[in-house]
Amino acid sequence: MHENATKVGFGAHLIGEIFPFHLGFDEQLRVVQHGVGVTKVCPDVRDGVRFGELFTVYRPRTEASFADFRRAAASTFFIDSIATKVRMRGQMGFDTESGLLFFIGTPWFVDIDELRRSQLGLKDFTVHDPIVDFLYMVQAKTLALADATKFSETIAKQRDELMRTNEELARASAAKSQFLANTSHELRTPLNGIMGMGALLQLEDLPRHHRNYADKIMGSAKALLVVVNDVLDFSKMEAGKLTLEPAEFRLHELAHEVTEVFAASADQKGLDLVCIVGEGVPVRVVADDGRFRQILSNLLGNAIKFTSKGEVVLRIDLVLERTDDYVLRTSVRDTGIGVDEQGKTTLFTPFSQVDGSMARRFGGTGLGLAISKQLAELMGGEIGVESESGVGSTFWFTATLKKSAVFAAPIVHDLSRLYALIADPCATSCDQLRSLLERHGATVDVCEDGAEALRRIDSALAAGRPYDLAVLDVRASSPPGAHVAKAISANPRCHPMRTIVLYTTAQPDAAKMRARVDAFVSKPVNGRKFIQSVARLFGHPVADSIVPPPTVAPRSRSSGKLRLTRVLVVEDHPVNQEVAVSMLATLGYAADVAANGHKAIEAIEQGSYFLVLMDLQMPELDGYAAAAEIRRRERGAKHIPIIALSAHAMEGDRAKALAAGMDDYLTKPVDIAHLAYAIGRWAPAPTEPRPPSSAPRRRTHRSHDRSIDTSVLDKLRKYQRKGAKNIVTDVIEKYLADLPERLLAMRHAAATEDRAGMAAPAHALKSSSASIGAIELGKISAQLEAACLVGDGDTEVTPPTDLVLTLFECLEKESTRVRADLQTILHDQQLHQENTE
């Protein structure tokens, strides 16, 4: 606008329309004009009334005078109606033309309801006045705030509910875990009775169908024990109490032992089971061997369960070696049904099997993999699966295992001059054996069937470079490996060649093959033992394969001078008392029973026991307190070995038992072989053994230097019929004819440390020896059989090989005595007969 342009002010009516809330004052601050809106909020406004009678000034802080108002014209004015308390917001302006002071403003509300209460409406406000819009906005924000408050209150309420629910769930979960732990404990107690009595029953000389029943009872009980253990582990896992108890162990042995456990079930399904320990995998490590074994068992068990043909391969490889530890990757590959993508997501979740029908078809708790996952994680590793439906799966886990203080370097034999042929229908097994032999420098050919093996042997002979060694799987077909072995035996040109026959438990007659076989090796092949067998055949010195016990030496053994022979069984449960006493009797130990800790202390004060088996949970005085009291009274003067027997199997039980002064720890159900081993560690061999239950129980009168209880033979004579062949002579002759074959089979098995191969002839010898009065030999056979059977399940303690070998040595010695004595008896018998004739 130009400066000299005519400027036009508001006319009186226009100012009223545009500013309905305006007031005009003269120099005495008397109202001279006002807008129509003003009287709506301040009805007492009239011309001529002074400002001070109508309003107070809230802001600015100034006197209500014309001059002061003029001076503060630029300020924001808030004036309050004295009559209605309505506040108006606006500004003062002095009109030089009229000499009047104007207040231009609008009622000031912060809540739309105040506007309504003042009976104002939209129509009372001009379009340029934003107060209504402001109030709308405030209202909208108030509503939004109310919504937000409501939401936040809802969230707070939900959070409280969630926390309450969480607490309730935690309580319920803790109660469930405790319930599971208690139930599992309660289940283990009767299971101990079933398995203990079952094991004793199995040692009896039973008719075939009764043996079948007994075996099935034991099989079912063992399966039940797996479930109970799974549930117990799961409850520990839930309670965060699943922890590891590291100890030093031999990893290669453990892998092969676990594989051997599954050999029979793999054989029954016609599966090839192979255990491969990769190059560089340490021999000795420090970790929780029981838990490591548990993961292996779980993965192998699943693989065999879900595979109907083909192979299952356990493989351990070294991933990384660091200053203090190793990282290992263990995998179990199968050619089974496989898992689809969806199945993989739930596999490691508790109680999940790939689908419900799996549980019906294959059984199992669905806890095994979840527990394995937790264990692998505790070992600083992880678990996973690669799988294709219908093709197979590879389950793997990694674990960090500490180095042992003792470094055991793998033994390397120089087999560089060895030229070997392997005939095995299982390609993986061929690869394993080839790689083992090649690792030691040998040159190796492989083939799958017998005919090919014979061809190769012939052509090698023809070429002037014959094989030094043939490794034949008895299953190699057309012709079978056994026939190949016989053909080799029959061919004198082959005689410089050594033969090793591989067999599985599915071919139990392998050991009886009428062929010149240098060694039998049972499958799954234990790589270390296989190489040792080969090395022995070729005259290489083999380091002593006897494994010392993995744990520390016993603190003391009972003095040999005293020759104490009784064991005190401290146990409150009548069936378990009987189980323990019967097992001890079978092992040749006499026992007394104390039903609680107090009675045990009294019995020890009065009696002479060389060992105590101590139940942990008993009325009145429990095992821990009793052991502590026994140690207190001993005052270090003597030390009676105490072995804890616990059905509790909870975390820390072992540590608690050892802390209470006990020397060893066994979990129920107690395996007779574990018991034999544990007692063997802490006590001398029994001196006045009770015969095994299959032998006559009455006290015998055998002369101390003879191995035969003749009263047994006397009993037999009662059945002698006139005219018939002398019954005693007949029985002894049959026994003497059978004995060498049994010993040979055991010797073969002993050469390869094949425990299963030793157990069967030991079992046969146990019964037959008892029936001709060779009581001691029968007893040693029973102990050997028991020791050989360890490892076919939930082992806590595995007897070292030396126990088996020592027993076998005793057995051989005793058998020599028996043979000599029987021959003397036969001789006497014949003389007697001749004399009577």
Partner: protein
Amino acid sequence: MYGLVNAAVQDLVVSKFGTDKWEKIKTKVGWDGDSFSRMAQYPDDLTYKFVGAASEVLSITPDQVLEAFGEYWVLYTGQEGYGHMFDIAGSTLREFLINLDSLHTRVGQNFANLKPPSFTYDEVNEQTLRMHYHSDRKGLCPMVSGLLRGLSKRFETELRIDHPVCSRLGAPHCEFMLTVSGGNA
């Protein structure tokens, strides 16, 4: 569409037909919230889905749903903190109708992205107004009929509503003939 609209749909269904029906409608729509934030923006599509689902679940036509909603909207907003806004927009039905456009305009300026409809009038005679209804959203005219019916109840004034021109029949916008008789007109 502001959450207020969806909240009103929810309130209408729950109060007139029960929670079960509302749960069914929610399931059909695939909405798993418990309530709506009244001043938050929701996609228009969601509101249309609610109308479609309500029509199926309540076995009435979508037009009937919209009309019922329009009528309920007046009652609902009157209760849900907008009563005072209504109060200051007019003390008679006629005054309110005249201010309806101004009300929407002012509210529209205060909320981001609100696309309020517009209502303008031709005065046919003292009793009758021709209302021109413009909206960016198509097909909601049955809701306007319901809205007018709701206002007639609020101001206790009989109102005859004719809808001679409809955008759904090809017209550029809808026209309503509103004839006030009796009451506060």
